[in-house]
């Protein structure tokens, strides 16, 4: 395709009739410049943000205390302490979210691709779309209404996970669905022809074939969920010390750590804001890149 279009840019007209008028050539050039400029423009914020965060946050990350200590007993005016408590909190909450969201998401996708027909399937698909568009703050308010006002439970890390599950399910469903659709029907038919029951066909043939794609979807979903702040603000009050109990006490997480230190005007706190932001970006980008790399090893290609 590109060769086709490139031919027209450098026209070598056989006859004068083919030659576009100069006005048309100018318009074409202007459009080309605009299109290239837009792409560069779109990359500016990405580079700028990464530069800012690395420039201001990298210092603390080279210090091993950042990765091993919590902020327990630290005050805004004093240098020191680390983000261990927040990193642990973020990873724990992401893990618990994944444990709940992945089975639901994968099974929903299996339903949509392998079983679903008619009105129910259309309703499920529509609701997945609605879930995709649900703002994180609304998901958080829903869990607040359920967890705190209805059941009178405390605001704990597990409640945050419930809100994150809502945000992660649609990502898992959509990516798994795409992957399952790519599995050639011949594989299923061959399996049926051998007398393998449908569920075993899905479990032993379809899912393994699509496995790397599903993993990619899960990793991308996790990356999205780990950076969410709104559910943490509403359901997961920040704590400076290490807490690994999902059901009691406050648990720190990187976004709430950023938000907490941000409210302090002192230099050391500001440094920690950017260091925590860099840590969060590193975690999210790592998951993202891992997802893309695994996607390349896919057995089914588009």
């Amino acid at each position: 395709m590109s060769t086709l279009t490139q031919d027209t840019v450098s026209p070598a007209p056989a006859s004068p009739i083919d030659k576009p008028s100069s006005m048309r050539v100018v318009k074409d050039r202007v459009a080309t410049v605009a299109v290239y400029a837009a792409f560069v423009l779109a990359l500016i914020p990405l580079v700028w943000i990464l530069y800012t965060v690395i420039d201001r946050g990298a210092n603390l990350l080279f210090d091993s205390t950042w990765w091993t200590n919590s902020q327990r007993g630290m005050i805004a005016r004093r240098e020191g302490g680390g983000a261990y408590h927040a990193i642990i909190g973020t990873l724990l909450q992401a893990a618990v979210t994944a444990i709940i969201a992945v089975p639901i998401g994968v099974f929903t996708a299996i339903y949509l691709v392998e079983y679903g027909r008619g009105k129910l399937a259309r309703a499920v698909s529509f609701m997945v779309d609605i879930l995709t568009g649900i703002p994180s703050i609304v998901a958080a308010l829903f869990v607040y209404a359920l967890w705190v006002t209805t059941f009178h439970f405390e605001r704990v890390a597990f409640a945050v996970c419930l809100a994150l599950v809502l945000l992660m399910i649609p990502v898992v469903v959509r990516s798994t669905e795409e992957m399952l659709k790519l599995v050639p029907n011949e594989l299923r038919e061959a399996s049926y022809a051998l007398g393998v029951p449908k569920w075993k066909t899905i479990f032993k043939i379809v899912l393994p074939t699509a496995f790397s794609g599903i993993v990619t979807g899960v990793l991308l979903g996790l990356a999205r969920v780990m950076g969410e702040t709104a559910p943490l603000l509403i359901l997961g009050p920040y704590a400076k010390s290490i807490n690994t109990d999902m059901f009691s006490g406050f648990m720190g997480a990187l976004p709430t750590m950023i938000n907490q230190e941000r409210s302090e005007a002192y230099g050391p706190a500001v440094n920690r804001v950017w260091a925590a932001a860099l840590t969060l970006i590193l975690l999210v980008m790592l998951l993202n890149i891992a997802g893309r790399v695994i996607a390349r090893t896919n057995k089914v290609s588009r």
């Binding site: 576009p20 792409f39 938000n259 950017w274």
Partner: protein
């Protein structure tokens, strides 16, 4: 794999049905799959139901008009709250973000599908997608602590020359709706680009070749073949971006300064969106009735994003009917 070559249950009774049968494994597995699907439906209904059940009591106690009064007094002695200010800031910030983001996103999508060398198109697309991987709180930090100082001169100049319009009226606040809109635009750029790119890539080659064969320049080919084909997709992509912008919480919360004075319609004023209002006051939910006021605001946001996303989906569906 072993099940294919080894003994399956069917070996015992060759007369059995081929695919989905009434046997236990199929019933359980199919049940789990269907159950998950139904669970997702129930989940969305539960979101609407719970928000409604918490919002209604607060709305009954509300001494002000929810839709028309521009006050927000929520304390234990009584509730009086209205949403017009929140609605205005939410909608205007998202709309301005769309006005900025959609043209750029369309051009970037054209770049990725029609201009970029085929081998580089995928990595370039990935670069734009990386924008979506940056957590929104980082956008907020960057927007307020770094980017703001670069936008301020522009805002001052615009307030001076365009102030008479009201929309750009001064004085310029610390963190403005305008600044938030630019950051929102950057945040929704990847999703609008991704979907536009997908539809542009599906333009039938015959259309494009036809235009080129008639002597069209590349831009004329895009204008006559690619853009008309992709327009419904771009519209729905823009709607999805709008939905994101309406619901974005933390970046807006960090960037836009809350308005201490009287409300102004200006983009250069501060203010609060539904999402940032809720997030700003999350520590003061306290009693159920106080939380109810914020949940009522959240319900409006839910309805708003629901409508926008449903519209986007309808447009996509209709386009499918045409193209296939």
């Amino acid at each position: 794999m072993s099940t294919i070559t080894g003994h399956s249950e069917l070996d015992a009774e060759p007369s059995g049905d081929k695919a989905s049968t009434g046997r236990r494994g199929d019933r359980i597995f199919g049940g789990l799959a269907t159950g998950s699907g139904v669970f997702v439906i129930l989940l969305v209904l539960a979101v609407a139901g719970f928000l409604l059940s918490q919002a209604v009591p607060a709305l009954m106690d509300n001494k002000a008009s929810f839709l028309f009064d521009r006050i927000w007094t929520v304390n234990d002695s009584g509730l009086a709250f209205g949403i017009p200010d929140l609605l205005y800031v939410t909608v205007i910030s998202a709309l301005v973000a769309m006005i900025i983001a959609v043209p750029v996103a369309v051009l970037v999508a054209l770049f990725l599908t029609q201009y970029a060398p085929a081998r580089l198109a995928a990595p370039f697309g990935y670069l734009v997608d990386l924008l979506a991987a940056v957590p929104s709180i980082v956008y907020g930090l960057w927007g307020f602590y770094v980017f703001r100082s670069y936008v301020e001169p522009l805002q001052d100049w615009m307030a001076k020359t365009l102030g008479w319009t009201g929309l750009f009226g001064g004085p310029v606040s610390l963190g403005t709706v305008f600044l938030a809109s630019i950051v929102l635009a950057i945040m929704i750029l990847p999703i609008v680009t991704a979907i536009s790119r997908e539809v542009f890539a599906q333009t039938p080659t015959t259309h494009k070749e036809g235009a080129l064969a008639l002597g069209a320049t590349r831009w004329e080919m895009i204008r006559t073949a690619v853009l008309p084909f992709g327009t419904p997709g771009v519209i729905s992509a823009a709607m999805l971006g709008l939905g994101r912008a309406l619901g974005e919480t933390v970046a807006v919360m960090i960037i836009v300064s809350t308005n201490p004075g009287p409300f102004r319609f200006s983009l250069f004023s501060g203010g609060e969106t539904f999402a940032s209002k809720i997030a700003n006051n999350s520590s003061e939910f306290g009693t159920a009735s106080r939380a109810g006021a914020y949940i009522a605001a959240g319900l409006v946001l839910f309805i708003l994003t629901f409508l926008v996303n449903a519209a986007a989906r309808i447009i996509i569906e209709r386009r499918k009917a045409f193209s296939e």
